[in-house]
């Protein structure tokens, strides 16, 4: 007589308590009188790296030898797969360990980004939606929920919530009470049990919901997938946060912004009408307008409006033009509200900032918060906010005689102290003379140049304009990062855009996009240099 062996594979990250989860399962199986074997490849050093745990169990048959258990999961032959993180589910699918014929897959929607994803200069995040789509296609049943969030809310580890999720999808041939008993009575057992129960209930609720999806091989649980992923970012983000759609297609779906709420300065009675703009551009322009008021004043916002309106008039509506216009609105808004000392000091002293810090640190009301800023203002940054003439003189002097001692040194400013707060507010006052500042002059000149090129491109080739609209994406950061971005921007503008404008030949959209991508490929401009050199030859 043959025995049915039940196989369970757990994908997790080192340090998440996967070993504890494995022990709970083994303990339950023993209590339940099953033959069981479990193994893992932790290696003592596999800290924060991908790791997996594999368990097999079967009924014991009187008189027959115990079943022979395997130590390594066999592709296509795993009954239950549970993962504590979404890309770990992708990894197991990639290895063929999830099969539509037999595998029930339950995964957390939470992401713990890998270094490779995080270190990209643009957006290197792996597309969560693709993992969801793959799960729908490859698993017999696919259930997702944010196990990390549940763990956070119940004060436990993801091992406990994953235990609940696996129990909820029926991975174990024993009841819920057996699982709860296995968690035991230690100091953290209460929280573990709460996490277990919340995940268990979350999963069973999903499975009980009527199927609203016509996908084959998948049960009701899929109905909630998209909603869940949307929710994944909720813990940290505000309204307007969107489902991450990145990589491959760069089409970004921006959430419809609410009517911009105008912060503490600027002024009410905002009635600028962007109705002649296409929807996407209108939404972004509305945001940009509010941003400019918040940044400087109403007149500055008018300048923004005028610039956008003028771009819109450069070409008749078409899907390509509309897309280019939207992107231009986004980039123009960000560019016009570049971060100088005054802006940073202003943002760092707003009440909502402290409220956000308290929330992020999960502080209770009876706890006191001190905030210390890590600043290192350099000569460039000071010159940037000085009146243009003075700033230029100052930079010349620095070049000859070196930077004054207090600049370029690490400064720790306690914004929550009276002294520090006052100093930051003082710095924020540079906003008043921003229009006469050195950097303002430089930025506005560059913006005008870009706008002129945009205008010409929109009329001739909306595709080129769409690429050109992306170019200011390179302008970001502070200090060396900013210098690098500017260098790359100028290199591309001079070698690609300026000649195109002069020759009125806007056929090189693809080349321009390639150059932008190259600039974002590495911080040392290796790829960009190669790209520009190749194009020049």
């Amino acid at each position: 007589m043959d025995t049915k062996i039940r196989s369970i594979l757990i994908g997790a990250l080192g340090g998440e308590g996967g070993g504890v989860l494995m022990d709970w399962i083994v303990h339950c199986a023993r209590m339940h009188g099953l033959a069981v074997q479990a193994t893992s490849v932790p290696g003592v050093a596999q800290r924060t790296g991908s790791t997996s745990y594999y368990i097999e169990m079967a009924e014991k048959i009187a008189g027959a030898p115990d079943p022979v258990f395997a130590l390594i999961p066999m592709p296509g032959r795993v009954d239950f797969v549970g993962t504590s993180e979404l890309v770990e589910a992708a990894r197991l699918m990639e290895r063929g360990l999830v099969s539509p014929r037999r595998t029930v897959l339950v995964s957390s929607t939470s992401r713990f980004f890998t270094t490779a994803e995080k270190m990209e200069m643009g957006d290197g995040r792996f597309d969560s939606q693709r993992v969801i789509a793959a799960g729908k296609e490859l698993a017999k049943t696919f259930v997702t929920l944010d196990l990390e969030k549940i763990a956070r809310e119940t004060g436990t580890m993801v091992s406990a919530t994953l235990f609940g999720a696996l129990a909820g999808v029926g991975a174990f041939p024993w009841d819920r009470a057996t699982c709860e008993a296995a968690i035991g009575g230690g100091r953290s057992a209460g929280a573990s049990r709460a996490g277990f129960n919340a995940a268990y209930d979350g999963v069973t609720r999903q499975l009980a919901a009527p199927a609203s999806d016509s996908l084959p091989n998948s049960k009701s649980a899929v109905a909630d997938f998209d909603k869940n992923v949307g929710r994944a970012g909720e813990g940290v983000a505000q309204s307007g946060d969107t489902v991450d759609t990145r990589n491959g297609s760069r089409s970004r779906e921006i959430a419809r912004p609410p009517t911009p709420t105008l912060p503490h300065k600027g002024g009410g009675g905002l009635t600028v009408d962007f109705t002649d703009l296409p929807t996407e551009a209108r939404d972004l322009a509305t945001l940009g307008l509010a941003r400019c008021i918040d940044y400087q004043d109403r007149a500055y916002a008018d300048l923004f409006t005028q610039r956008i309106q003028s771009l819109a008039k450069s070409a008749p509506a078409s899907p390509e033009r509309d897309h280019a216009l939207a992107e231009a609105a986004r980039r123009l808004a960000l560019w016009m509200t570049y971060e100088d000392i005054a802006r940073v000091a202003d943002l760092k002293t707003r009440p909502e900032r402290f409220a956000k810090i308290r929330a992020e640190a999960e502080m209770r009301d009876d706890q006191i918060l001190n905030v210390v800023e890590y600043l290192k203002p350099g000569a460039d940054e000071l010159a940037a906010v000085l009146p243009a003439g003075l700033g230029a003189w100052f930079l010349r002097r620095v070049e000859k005689k070196g930077s004054p001692g207090m600049l370029g040194r690490p400064a720790f400013i306690a914004t929550t102290s009276l002294h520090g707060f006052a100093m930051m507010r003082l710095l924020a006052q540079f906003r008043r003379i921003r229009r006469s500042s050195l950097r303002y002059k430089h930025e506005q000149a560059a913006i005008e140049r870009w706008l002129a090129a945009m205008s010409a491109a929109l009329a001739a080739s909306p595709a080129y304009a769409a690429a050109l609209a992306e170019l200011p994406r390179l302008l970001k950061g502070y200090g060396e990062t900013q210098a690098r971005g500017l260098r790359n921007y100028n290199a591309i503008f001079e070698s690609r855009v300026a000649p195109a404008v002069a020759a009125k030949d806007f056929s090189g959209a693809a080349g321009l996009r390639k150059a932008i991508a190259a600039a974002l490929a590495d911080p040392e401009a290796v790829a960009l240099d190669a790209e520009l050199r190749a194009a020049a030859e």
Binding site: I72, M93, G96, V98, V236, D241, F354, V371
Partner: protein, 711 residues
């Protein structure tokens, strides 16, 4: 030590008939005690660390039994310990990670194997091969053959492993030869059960002392007796071993109805083979196979009679032997040829030379064997299986739009070694590329993104030695990085003293975190004193322990600087100075900062107690202002901290994700330090969260609330 084995120690005490539940490597520990072992030693390393760790922690129980437990400083020192069994009836066991540990131990092993032993000797090696392995992929088998040591490779279930441990001692004594047992990673970590026996108090022990053995020149690995040893190995010891192996039925024969063929398999991969046979319908879940099998729990030496007996009359056999080269297959080939048995022999012609033998790999090899030698079994389903899995993978890849990003292990949150690599990255930015000799240990994570440092790894503690040749022609001074673990394991002698002897130039960085952290924070000779740790609470204590500095000074190192790793700017400047100074000779930078696993473990209970007692407690964490971060991620490229991550900006205008510090932050401060040192960005802030604030705290808070809203 990172882990507490309080529960496991209790299971070591189980008696006759009781059920042991637990990990494979701890079952080995229990089996050693059941075998009456006198002394145990070893050097830590996954996957065998737990064997020794549990014994070190079970000090009281070990002294009760009279077992002498020694934490050795490297594998050579562990292997040399077995010398006690050459002339005394003392059973001894040592353990280490192989192949690397066996390489280090090789000299002592040769010298042990030559005279042979009186008391049983067992060397438990963690065969770090295949998925999850962290070392070069080679076989311990070669050492068994070249030194004439016997090698066990038991089936990976606890009863077999335990039986093989017990039988190893008997085999060792019956044949006067040390025995090795190889256990693969998953077998070491396998959770299972076996019926325990009483522990046996050793014949000679710390409680039952022995008089010094008489001088017997024959027990020395020294000429001329070595010539006699060589003869004895093959004339006496090996035949005795074969008699024992056959006599005690250490290898298992599984009958099957298709007797015209057969499979010879290493014990350690039998389960994978059975699963593969099951897939193609030739075995059941209990392991009853249709193809006869000879399972070799002892893979060296083979017993010719057993092999011939199994093969004779068969049309063909398949040798399932993982890793390369195919020593067993070669030996079987010789045995069959000599016995004039003309059974066709297959193995590496049908199975891959390299890589782990998973069930999937075995299915495809079995299919080839069946097709060629027993085609009447017809379409076994192997082809269908291969197609099914290939399709699954291709579907996954298409749906995912490409392979998911790799996730190698990395420095822990708050690790003091990460800031060193941030500093090194800043040096590289200013000075250009330079040669970096890497080493084994946590700091090897510096070879991964975002740091990507390292031009070579030549073994544990070998970094300085490995830069000696480069030193001669490198245009910039090469840097050798090693941990304090590597320094004591080997680096001091092979690296430091060699430079001093040659009075040559060089730059060594010693990562002094106080423990061999990668293997589970075992103690070193330079581990901070418990008293320092007690008074330091949650602070780093490595600045109080000067054994490394004292040793270097004593040897005559003139250029020596200690820098706390979290001082990123100071570390960068010190590195630059060391790289450019005209001082000709060895320069050593001790990059100190205590392993945060140990530090956090001390801090957590202290903090919890203080909070419970209503005392004022300050928690520090770092953060990034979403509004001012522009999403370039330079900070991440300089840090790689798991809690410094990215998130979708709350600003719908920003399309690139912004940096974000999660609440897992332990407040180490590297991100702020790096932002300062590299002049990155003003977005970083430090938040100090005061629980149970004092009256003065509250007064200040009230006062400032007038100005600073919501803080």
């Amino acid at each position: 030590m990172e882990r507490s084995f309080a529960t496991e120690i209790e299971s070591l005490k189980l008696g006759e008939g009781e059920i042991f539940h637990g990990e494979g490597i701890l079952a080995v520990t229990k089996a050693l005690l059941q075998s009456g072992v006198s002394y145990v030693g070893g050097y830590q390393g996954a996957p065998v660390s737990h064997l020794l760790d549990v014994m070190v922690q079970a000090k009281d129980y070990m002294s009760e039994l009279g077992v002498n437990v020694v934490a050795c400083t490297n594998e050579a020192s562990a292997a040399a310990m077995l010398g006690a069994s050459i002339m005394y009836p003392a059973r001894g066991a040592v353990t280490w990670k192989s192949i690397v540990g066996t390489n280090v131990a090789a000299d002592a092993l040769s010298n042990l194997a030559s005279p042979g032993v009186k008391g049983g000797c067992l060397i438990v090696v963690g065969e770090d091969y295949g998925d999850g392995a962290s070392v070069i992929q080679e076989r311990t088998h070669a050492y068994a053959m070249k030194s004439a040591l016997w090698l066990m490779d038991p089936r990976p279930n606890l009863p077999t492993i335990v039986r093989c441990v017990e039988k190893s001692f008997e085999l060792s004594e019956a044949s006067h030869t040390p025995v090795m047992m190889e256990l693969r990673i998953r077998a070491c970590h396998v959770q299972g059960e076996f019926v325990a026996k009483d522990n046996v108090k050793p014949a000679v022990s710390t409680l039952n002392k022995a008089a010094a053995a008489p001088h017997d020149y024959a027990t020395l690995a020294h000429p001329p007796v070595t010539f006699g040893h060589e003869v004895a190995k093959y004339a006496a010891r090996m035949p005795a071993a074969r008699r024992f192996i056959v006599g005690h039925g250490l290898n298992e024969k599984i009958d099957g109805r298709h007797g015209e063929v057969g499979i010879i398999v290493q014990g350690g991969i039998t389960n994978a083979l059975i699963r593969a046979l099951q897939e193609i319908g030739l075995a059941d879940a209990q392991g009853r196979s249709d193809l006869p099998m000879l399972v070799l729990n002892v893979v060296y030496p083979l017993c010719p009679d057993e092999i011939v007996g199994f093969c004779a009359g068969k049309k063909a056999v398949l040798v399932v032997e993982e890793s390369q080269p195919e020593y067993i297959e070669h030996e079987i080939s010789s045995i069959l040829r000599r016995a004039d048995v003309n059974t066709a022999l297959h193995g590496k012609d049908m199975l891959p030379m390299a890589g782990e033998y998973t069930s999937e790999v075995l299915v495809s090899g079995l299919a080839k064997f069946i097709d060629k030698e027993i085609p009447r079994l017809g379409n076994s389903g192997a082809k269908a299986y291969a197609e099914e899995i290939a399709e699954l993978r291709s579907k996954a890849l298409i749906a995912l739009g490409g392979p998911p990003p790799a996730r190698p292990p990395s420095f822990c949150i708050g690790c003091p070694e990460r800031p060193f690599f941030s500093a090194l990255k800043l040096v590289e930015k200013e000075e250009g590329r330079f040669h970096v000799s890497s080493d084994i240990g946590c700091h090897a994570f510096g070879t991964f993104a975002p740091f990507s440092f390292g031009n070579s790894i030549l073994g544990f503690g070998m970094s300085l030695a490995s830069s000696a040749g480069v030193q001669g022609f490198a245009d910039k001074r090469p840097i050798a990085i090693m941990g304090d673990g590597g320094f004591w394991h080997n680096g001091l002698l092979s690296g430091v003293t060699a430079r001093l002897l040659n009075k040559s130039d060089g730059l060594l960085v010693i990562m002094k975190n106080g423990y061999t952290s990668a293997t589970g924070t075992q103690d070193l000779v330079s581990t901070p004193h418990p008293e320092f740790k007690r008074t330091a609470g949650g602070d780093s204590t490595t600045d109080t322990e000067m054994t490394i500095e004292g040793t270097l000074k004593g040897l005559g190192v003139k250029w020596l600087k200690s820098v706390h790793t979290y001082k990123v700017s100071e570390m960068r400047d010190t590195l630059k100075e060391a790289m450019t100074t005209s001082f000709d000779g060895l320069k050593v930078i001790v990059a100190e900062g205590e392993c945060q696993l140990e530090r956090q473990r001390r801090m957590k209970p202290l903090r919890a107690a203080a909070l419970a007692a209503g005392e004022r407690v300050v928690r520090t964490r770092y953060g990034v202002d979403d509004e001012t971060c522009t999403g370039d991620h330079s900070c991440i490229r300089l840090s790689g901290c798991p809690t410094l991550t990215v998130k979708t900006s709350s600003d719908p205008l920003k399309s690139d994700p912004v940096a974000h510090v999660t609440n897992g932050c332990v407040g180490c401060g590297l991100c702020g330090e790096a932002a300062h040192a590299a002049t990155l960005c003003p977005s970083f802030y430090r938040a100090e969260i005061i629980s149970n604030p004092s009256g003065f705290d509250r007064f200040k808070a009230r006062l400032r609330r007038i100005f600073v809203k919501a803080a």
